[in-house]
Every structure is written in C-alpha cells, then in structure tokens.
Point group: C2
Chain length 415, copies 2
Amino acid sequence: MIQRPRGTRDFLPDEMERRRHYESLLREVCRTHCFREVATPIFENTELFTAKSGPNIVDEIYSFQDKGGREISLRPELTAAVMRLFINEMSNHARPLKLFYFGQCFRYERPQSGRYREFFQFGAEIIGAPNAETDAEAIALAHSMVKALGLKEYVLRVGHIGILRGELRSMGIADADMAEILQKLDKKSYDEAAPLLRRHGIDDDGMTSLFEKTQLTGGKELLPGIEGEPGEYLRELFGFLEAYGVDDVLVDIGTVRGLDYYTGVVFEIEAPGLGAEKQVCGGGSYTLSEVLGGEPVFSTGFAIGFDRILLALEKEDHPYTARVPDAFVIAASEDVRPEGLRIASMLRQAGLGADVDLMRRKVSKAMKAASSSGARYVVIVGSKDLAQGGVTVRDMQSGDQELVPLDGLVSHLQS
Amino acid sequence: MIQRPRGTRDFLPDEMERRRHYESLLREVCRTHCFREVATPIFENTELFTAKSGPNIVDEIYSFQDKGGREISLRPELTAAVMRLFINEMSNHARPLKLFYFGQCFRYERPQSGRYREFFQFGAEIIGAPNAETDAEAIALAHSMVKALGLKEYVLRVGHIGILRGELRSMGIADADMAEILQKLDKKSYDEAAPLLRRHGIDDDGMTSLFEKTQLTGGKELLPGIEGEPGEYLRELFGFLEAYGVDDVLVDIGTVRGLDYYTGVVFEIEAPGLGAEKQVCGGGSYTLSEVLGGEPVFSTGFAIGFDRILLALEKEDHPYTARVPDAFVIAASEDVRPEGLRIASMLRQAGLGADVDLMRRKVSKAMKAASSSGARYVVIVGSKDLAQGGVTVRDMQSGDQELVPLDGLVSHLQS
C-alpha cells in the first residue's frame, strides 16, 4: 500500500466540507472589506525566499532543481510571492492595493501536532498606503475574520517594532548592530542575547530591564507611557481600531522582529486553547518590495494559519453539520431504472441535491443506503405509481409516505 | 526583479474572481449531484505515479528527493492520489463513493498556449459501482458541468475500450501483446503501429481497416453495429444517458487507451474552438485500485482541464462582470476620519461591500478613487452632516446626492 508523504494530510469529505465552510466565511469577510483575491504558483524561484529571509531559509523549505537546473522551492509562505506579483504585474495599479490569498504552503520540519509539512494560509496585504488607518484596516480585517469564524477565546496583541529598537538605541547600540540582538530577543533567547548586549557595554540591570520589556503586554493604559514616534503612531492606531469596533486588543510593548524589512506595527492573534502552538495569526507593516527589487512601498499584512485556527475552533466544539442530500431516488424495479435517473436529473436541475441508487439494490437495501446517506426524502419510483403520474415520497424524519405527482415533486421537496 | 518560474502563472484580482466564479458553478453541480469533495497533498511519493503510469512518467513530472532522501513528485494528475486516499482511508465507506476534487497539477514540459507547468484540474470519481448507470452518472455530471459553465460549442464522445481490443483479438493478436499497439493507436501514430501489426501477420488491408476504425465517430445509428459485450454495454449506457437528458453525445468507435487499468467506457469532451489543444475533459472506467495495492474495485471518473475550459469560454466571449464595492466611504476632513471607519465597519457588518479611503485624500481626489473602484455609492462623512445625524450619499450611476440619516444608511444602500 502506497502511503502519502510524511507530514501531509488527506481531507475526507466531512472534513473537507467543514474546511470549505470556514474558507467561505473568510472569503465573505474579504468581500465586505473590499479585499480582492490573487493567486501565485505553488513553487517559486528559490532566490525569492532567500532574498526575503536569508540563505538559511533553504534548510527549512522544500528546495530542489527542476530538470532545467533552475533552483525552485515550494513556497513556505505567501507574502514574498504576493509582493513579487505586485512588483511584476500590479505596480501601476491604483493605491492602495487590498489583496488576499488562500493556499498551501510547505516547510520541511519535523511533523508535530498542529504543524504540518503542507499547511494552509489565508492572508491579506495592503500595499501603498503609509498610514495608521492602513494598519488599522488590516487588523480590523483579521479581527473580523476571527469573529466570523466564531472563535470565542482569542488574544489580539498589537505592538510597534520601534519601541524596543528605540530602547536599544537609547542604550547606545547602533542600528547596524541591532539585527542580531533583535533576533535573539524575538525568540526570547535571553541567554544568547546577554553576551551580545554585554559586548555593547550593557550591564546586568540594563539587561534585566530590557528583557522585562520584551515580555510586557497590557491594556490601553500602557499607551500614554510609550515614547517617541512609536507611541504617537500606536495612540493614533488604537483610536482607529476603536472606530472599527476592535476594542478587545492588548498593547504589546515587547514585540520584536529581527528582520530589517519590518517597519512599524506588528500584531498577533493567539488562541490560548492551543497551548504551545497558539499563534493563529501574525502580521505587521513592512517594506519588502525594495528587498525584492521593486520600488519602496509601504505595506501591511497578515497571515492566518488556517489549519491551526480550525484546530482552535474544534477545541471549542464549534458545531458544523455536514450537508445531506435533499432526496435519494430509488427505482423499485429494473424496468423503471431509467425513469429513476430522469427524476434525479430533474431534481438536480431544480437545484436540489439528489442522489440515486447506482448499485441496483433491492428497495429495502436501497432504503438503508438512503438512510445512512442522511437524505431528507426518499423518492421511490415504481411502475404502478408512475402509471398514475406520481412517485412515492418518504419523509425520512417523520417516516410519512405519500404519493406525489411528478409535476409537483420539486416543490414538494423544496418545502 | 525576481520573475515567477517559467510555465507558471499569477492570477490578478479580475481573473481570479472569474476563476472562482466558474469554480463555484462546478462545485454547485457537484452538490446537486451529491458528489463530495476530497483533497490530497500537492506532492506524493513518486512510486504512486510510476505504479500508475510506468517509470517513464518521471521524465515528464517534477520529481525530486526531499531532505530525508525520499523520492517525491508534484502530482501530475489527481486520480492516482484519490485512489490512494480511497485505499488508505475510505475503503470501508459505503459504496459507491462519489468524490470530486479541484486543485493544481504539475508537469515538466515546454510551456505553450493552453499548456502550463502548473495547471488546474476539476475532476470526479465514482468508486465501487460496477454498472452502466455509474458510467452514465459520471458522464451526466461532466455534461451538467459543461452546461453550467455555459460552454456553447462542445463535442461529447463516448466509446468503449473493448471495441478495438476485440478487433485486435479477432485479428489473432494476444491480449499480452496489445498494450504496445494500443498505445501507438491511442496517439494515432500509425507509422509506428504498422511494423508491430505486421509482425503479428496483419496485412495492409487489415491495417487500413483497423486505422479507419480508430477514427470512426458517429451518431447513435452506430450502436446496433457494435458487437459483443462492448456493444451491449454501450447500448445500455446510451439508454441511461438519454434518461439523464444527455442526448448530444456521439458514439466513438475509435477510442483507445494503452494502459491496462482502463476497463470499458471512455469519454471525452472537446471544445472545437480551441484548435489543436481542444480536449477539455477526459474520463472513463478503470481498476486502478489493484495497481496501487488495494482491492479490485470498479471505478469511473473524469477530469476537466479547468484552465482550458476557461479558455474555451473566453473564446466564446462569455461575459463575467467583476464585483464592485457597494459603497466607498470618504471622510471629508481629518477630524471625522474615525467616524468614516466606524461607518465603513457598520456597512461591512451588514454584509455590504464597503471600501474606505485609506490615503487621506482630499474629497475631490477620493471621489476619483471611488469612481475608478466602480463603487455604486459614495458615502461622504462630514462634520456638518454628522451634526444632523446623517451622511451624504451619492449614487454614482445617477449622480444624485442626498442626506441619509445614519440609522437608515444600510437599508438605503441595500435598496
């Protein structure tokens, strides 16, 4: 028996229907917020990802040579690809561009709970509007998505990359030296950050105070205390968020991102019910276009881990009831089998979900199949009934059976 | 500037929306016909595809080793994967299984018009019902799909693999020797088939008659002349197809498939408007499960080339009008900007598509942006109007402007 590759999944009908249901909820939120969908290839030239994340990214992704010797990689995320699309094909479109995407991403890592080698991201990017409204619009979209899915327990945290950068600056650390330190702080690897800081003359007290700040999260009462540009920006942003009705949001002082293209606001949504792998959405503002060879342009966006947020919904016992056939059509004898197909076809054309016995079962066995399909009605096609211009319809809930004329069958089943 | 890989495509918003529209039409047909969706990984263990199609398939697909040294390949089609899923995870489900799928497939070949290295297939499989009804159900589904998409010019041809096999058998060629000959006939490579046939003692007249048959297509008047089991099966099938309302269907005597797992009925839908690459759907019955290590099980299915059928629709000038915002909200001055966001948010929550100026434009410039967005209404939020509890709404079609109270805004825009 041939197995599927490690770390990948198959989706069976019930699960797939549930996934499509939640996907369509997210899609609907994008429609009301006037974000429009784009799609990019499953694989990209590897340089796209190394340009964004550095050469070491190759160790974590599916990279290979195609038969023409080109270095290609399965995409580990979609922001780089969407920015490439923007640079190549949409750079002269009216600003801002409000784009969303949904699709598979891939990373080569040890499979574990909630982490797959093939996983799905639903994300959005706003390109070209350098305002706090833009960050607010992105956060409001993510917030509306979480609400639309129905997730009850979540934590939305918003911070600004500039706060800790300013902190380091005030400690006398030059901008050029920050990246390495910020990367350690981002991972809360204080042991590794300490020697770097010490090298820059930071003493133990300074470090303790810095490390504490990287863990500081709180309510809006923290806003007035944030100094400089980051403080001004966040205060404006939180005003806009309130206008959007996003009021269940925390101020996150300790936000750090090690990569240079992050420019300001950073936000995350966590589902605490998920334990260690609790982040279901991450985003912020960035200037990736330049890094990829395009013009400098302000962008902000986020990605929702679709698998993980579905896991969070599952843990909250969100009910999703799979669709059932409206009708299951059974031919009572061989001679009326074509008539059974004709009737199923008529119901389908009327928009009803109609299944039909394809196994030439006897009526009693076919009734069992109909019952386990969950069909609301069974339509029994028999020659005697047909002679009277009708079929027998059984309501599977009540068990009631009646003769229904063929020309009234659709409306009978629709009621 | 980093380019996307050769033979792949980006989909921009208008095109993507059109694709999703047609995808949802196909999805809806699956719903009424009670087919249910499954999904499998983008890549599979390479042996899945070599087991189905032979070792040479590797030359035509994206095959590579992952970091663990496993041979994996981007899927070139989805039937093998769906059968693997069936064997691994659904073999004990009630029969028949009626499954559909939609997704990217990949092949490494020279990109050309209508042929991409990344392309999309929408397909369906019925597993476990060994009857002509099953083939009819599959063909009826494909037919309904083409109708639902609105394709006007198409040719549906149905044949039976057994006809030409019987012909070869009657010429004294053993079943074991047929595969190679059938593969040549499948590609209409008569020059290559001739020496093989000659080796089995077939003379020029016999060959001419055989080659003519491989090109024979006609109306139902051909049915009575088809001998043996294939004839009986096709006559029954065409009776069922008629019951399904599929009456625009040709009998294809010359259908050939070289691979052993094809068992009987084969069908194709062509869009003649596409020229050389005119096949938009191909299917038939097969017993692939055994080949992949599962139990013997009768299956029938098909795949629609989603890109190609969209190309055919495009050539027929099918109109698709992109969605526009219901409203575009503009704040007339800086102080009411949060109020603008609040109103946009209110409209979105009511299910309206509401865009909002994020660029801090002056009203006249923002009106231009609203106009090029195609929005039906512009909502101008100004402090004077707000003092009266309202906003100014401009109907972009008529140019009429009026003051609308905030609590009546949603219903005003919905009308």
